[in-house]
Amino acid sequence: MSQINHQPVDILVSTHQPEQVTLRGYVIGFGGSIVMTITAYLFARYGMLNKPVMVALLAFLALAQFTLQLVYFLHLGREFSPRLKLLVTVFMMIIVFILVGGSIWIMNNLDGRMMGTKVMIKYMNSQDGL
């Protein structure tokens, strides 16, 4: 009777205790996000950079803020060993990358193969208005 070992069964997500949030984390997340938002805004409004540099800068600021909020607001990366939350998140990012990148790629490609509007009108006229 004395040798009853407590064995938790069926642990898909083991946390042992609910994650505790701290004020410090929220303040860091909020302050950082505000700074990045305003920096991005000021650059887009008044920055005299050429377009590719500007796009890269704004995309970087957005991704940095995304990461900051994932860590400090959504508490990603603070779970215990089977890191399922992180796994699902990385999977989501892959899907999003394929979905958005692929759509832009394919549609640009199609657009490049399409007749321009003016060429189309000319062609239609040459074909007796179709």
Partner: protein, 208 residues
Amino acid sequence: MSEAVTQTLNIIKSNKLIAKYDKDARDIFGFWVYLMTDCVLFASLFAVFAVLRHNTYGGPGASLLFSMPYALVETIILLTSSFTCGLAVLSAQLKHNKRVLFWFIVTFALGASFLGLELNEFHNFIAMGDSWRRSGFLSSYFVLVATHGLHITLGLLWIAVMSVFVLKRGISDLVMKRIRMLSMFWHFLDVVWIFIFTIVYLFGAIRV
């Protein structure tokens, strides 16, 4: 003998406790999976917007239509509401019912003003004749931003319901779990807005 019984009871108790924590963690994990699939929904709308952003069909483009300071104000308001929602979770963790209610009211007010600003923007566009029927660009813009707005509306409803829960029942474990989920939902909406702000408004302003 009685010691053995107590010990067994204690083990059963702790087992139950762990099972409960694990159930809560599982529920929260399930909600996280839902949020990630919601990301895929938004991603497809972003893809549509990215493809159609130049198809203005003679109508106004992004740089002409959007007011940047207006978008910045919306962003700051939503970001602040995300922060105050976090403060509500923090207070709930410390079982300060009144403070939770206070931060929920602040979050609700900020979220409602964000929604009001968004609807006002829609109203102005439609009044100028630039509704979703004007061009492919405007269709994709309205669908993307209004889907986010719909989520915000549901989030506001949820905040209202949770406030009533906290008022009536206090912060039980069940309420705490739901507050955690609500805060995840609300933070997630702010995360989506980062990309709407950058891709729709900022990229629109620099004519990408």
